[in-house]
Symmetry: D2
Subunit: 338 residues, 4 copies
């Protein structure tokens, strides 16, 4: 079986990572690659690391170009996927790396993104309770945000053990902000500097984390979320903490059980702590859990590659599930380190 | 007035930063420079950025070498300062950058550091309530830890507004770990990677933060503290959050009042957020405060240079207070950026 | 004596560094700060590290705004300084950090920059033979390019010992490219990556290096120059090599003599090699020289901060000379490390 | 066919990269993993990115442990491979990532490494003229040094066009120095800094580059080589320049022809320049060539991942050749960027 795929938004970081992974997928053939302002350019100008595609050019992002592929990956700013997907029809699996179809609440969508909600698609985090079965055979997938991926996986197993409020501070590399030409993303500003943004519950990933944890808990879980930009290209390290309802004696056991059969979520042995370079380029999530005995708080630290498992890796994993391929095809748990 | 100073531990990062600042202090003459295993070396071997001291050699760290200076700065591992200070007598102002004399509780000392407590010295964070007056004319000063400096300044003004538990996640550059030859501090491991350590209340700065906030509050404040190592040499960005008792409407006003007259603590204008490179090499602390309206939580973000205001700058500031010099002599609020 | 200065181009990296240094200059009062597209903004938006100027706003860059200052620093793209300087008149010392007036040959100017040459001003590298005396009392100064500064200082003492062709490969931090919003300058692209640009003699600093060395030699010296971008904000490390005419036995002696009395150029002791962080933020140049015995080649390695001695520090040094102030006022040879 | 391999020196950077690549090789089964001082440790302690080997422990490096594998990779300090290889016998393919068997001249060995030369093995750079055929079916392979790999590939095609002396300045990430606990390799010292080392022909890779180019030229080629350490974990960017014998009009054509059929060496299209992140984790070498028209010099810029094609990737490529597997098995030309 050969799956013919297209990538819309192939000039950006998510698009580049999709292609990097898909080039290593045994069952995939790479079709159309599209962009907006960069249409017409050689792909190599934007993705100099993708040598096997050195002869490719970027086309315009239109339904015509994208039609006729088995799978279309959308790596576009939010607001564009619903119309494109409709034109592509149900013959095509559409995997959306953008935010359009992640939230279940239309009110939340309007509050956080503005405009009308385009509807909810199966949520591409198969490791959350009940999600994997919704992805098998799906024709539409909403790939989670990078912060919600790591935060939800870090806390979901514990929802029955903790109070209703969690605090997440997540340190991220700069590629999470995309290839945006903003002064604060220039290398000269980023290197040697850490800074917070979207503070005080202002980041759009906040309702998505809350949605995931609340669904897992069966009750509302509120989230204090602060993202911090650190001088690295990739990687998120999330520190997630919540008050425990009891003494937390069985915390480790709960996490061991939750992820025992998951191919990509690894609870590290005791004494080991996650570092983002250990998951660089891989689809793995590394976790460690502990209890602060003086405060009765659970502390979970989790590392993920924001572009891989945080975006493009999850997209490939969901494609595998949607098409009935082995879930781990084309994906690795081996990081590129040091 | 010329103040003759000595630095014990001049081969390390704190010692180097002390000398960098003291070279620019108008009233200081630099005397003995000592080290342990590096005694006998040219200072330039360890501090190649201190060209005006290029002809200096490191001597052994002994009371004999350190005697006869007006001020002795100790930048040593904990456990060494009490004996040295006793031999130096009260003619000499001793400013200890180590941990020996920071904690007021002997029990806390024994729990966190082991062994017998060497006693408590005036605490070198003049911006905390009641501390400045204890430092004026002091003969002994305990310079705070870098994390407690930034965390305490971030939260102390709010202690009457918040509940009894705070959560601090602080991203730090690697120089905070000193010039230790450990694999996880190698450039190859650090660059491109973020990692947490001392998780779950295991970092020794935890009781010091709690001590400061509890003293400011007049009631026990407990601290969930997680330090995160980021790929930069200097700087700490602390995200500090706590549940508010009320709606937090006057939070900004409280902080404005608290730091209105402080030369080194700057509440940024609304809409600006701290970044560590903005304080690199400076004695400034940059703060921003906000309220998460959905959760009723205060969120304070603060940036400091761990080696400057976090260690050596505070030491110089305290020397100025101890000797009756202008508090800001030799110190700057201008960072080296980008 | 108080010197009132203005900075045109105060929102950029060179402008920010000028202000950082001038804030520490004992005889300077900071007047108008101007910009182009950022006029009207709070300075703090662009220079968050300059807290003492937190209440300043950027004005439009016009002769009217800049008039009436003792010294005007121009940190503008090339092509703008001649007209501004003419309007300012000879009452004002104009120190141009741009390229307009560096080259002596109008043909070179037209070839490398295009358009008509605006004329040559005294060249702001006082350590080159014969330059310091031209700067004393000057009303106009052309501050050298950052690469020519370090390359010329690295090789000028040796021009009588070497053949007529030199090879320079200089590794630079990204701030040398300015605050330009180009994809290849984004942090995500820069971190973890080294790349060359302007290869094959295509960089505009090539004729300036050649001009300096040829002037020092009294014969044409040709320059193979390759700049390399490295993942750091500041600093240039130049590796400069040339075939020796003889065995090079007296190379070290020649350099020692050349720079014995220079306050900012330091030949390191034997066995020490320059590193850019040792000069970060300082006006120092660190040099080391050796001879490759198998090839009979001189190899000089030199480190400089491109924004400090490479631009803004040189500008302040030249202002000092122009006004008859001590040459080292407001400048330091102490780097900010680690 | 399943090839059972062992890695001696599995705790270091080269060992880790060998395992990362071999985990993705379709025909390889990973056997014994050995170390010296780390024997007995969990592999995960030293290689936290190799999750599929999370249950492995390091054994002692002895011939007994290594025997019985089809291929043994040695990632050891120089001086250890000859004795081990002798004990392993000719049933085992031994691929040595160390320096012991690279040089053909025993005198060169003694001069640069000291002690007696252990003999010369087939040289693992199949892209050099005449090397590939020596590697097919070989039982012993000497993997080249990282700098010689990139420098030789950059210049070998041009040896008939240039004079007898080349100048190479190569910027390297810190992993090339291995996991050595030296102060100058600490993250705090490395980040934000560039520095040269082994200047003046003092680096041991100098004779190896010269050997390769001289062999390709059929006449002695001398090499001025300067390595520069830059703040990145991986990657080498080499700037290689030499005087042309003629006008260089056919330079591009010569390189196109030389590498037309090579799977791993890519001459970039005109207008593109190599960057090290484009080859991160890949076995590709990216090259660009130009002629400096004013000087008549060839300038070649080449990028390689020092741990991949510069060490472990070359080792796997040579194993493939030795065993008659497809040369590209388990290797990729896709970099991990940004």
């Amino acid at each position: 079986m050969t799956v013919r795929i297209a990538v819309a938004g192939a000039s950006g970081y998510a698009g580049g990572e999709l292609l990097r992974l898909l080039l290593g997928h045994p069952d995939v053939e790479i079709g159309a690659l599209t962009a907006n302002s960069s249409a017409g350019d050689a792909l190599l100008k934007h993705q100099p690391h993708l040598l096997p595609l050195a002869d490719r050019r970027l086309q315009d992002t239109t339904a015509e170009t994208l039609k006729g592929h088995d799978v279309v990956f959308l790596a576009l700013p939010h607001g564009h996927s619903a119309a494109l997907a409709e034109q592509l029809g149900d013959d095509t699996v559409v995997v959306d790396c953008g935010a359009d179809h992640r939230l279940t609440s239309a009110d939340d969508w309007t509050r956080w993104y503005g405009g009308e909600h385009a509807g909810t698609w199966p949520y591409g985090l198969p490791e959350l309770p009940g999600q994997r079965e919704r992805l098998v055979g799906a024709r539409r997938v909403a790939v989670p945000g990078c912060y919600p991926t790591v935060s939800s996986l870090a806390l979901a197993p514990a929802v029955d053990l903790i109070e209703d409020e969690v605090v997440v501070v997540a340190v991220s590399g700069t590629s999470g902000a995309g290839k945006s030409l903003k002064p604060n993303l220039l290398g000269s500003e980023v290197m040697g500097s850490a800074s917070a943004y979207g503070v005080g519950g202002a980041h759009r990933h906040t309702p998505e984390i809350s949605q995931n944890l609340s669904a897992a808990a069966g009750r509302p879980i509120s989230v204090s979320f602060t993202p911090v930009l650190a001088p690295m290209s990739r990687g998120i390290l999330a520190t997630c903490t919540a008050r425990l309802e009891d003494d937390g004696a069985n915390v480790r056991e709960v996490y061991e059980k939750a992820y025992a059969d998951e191919p990509f979520v690894h609870l590290l042995p005791e004494g080991f702590w996650p570092a983002t370079n250990a998951v660089l380029g891989s689809n793995a999530v590394q976790l460690q859990v502990t209890v602060d005995p003086d405060l009765g708080r659970l502390v979970v630290v989790a590392a993920v590659d924001n572009l891989a498992k945080g975006t493009a890796g999850a997209a490939v994993q969901c494609m595998n599930l949607a098409l009935g391929l082995p879930e781990t095809s084309g994906l690795s748990t081996v990081g590129v380190a040091p």
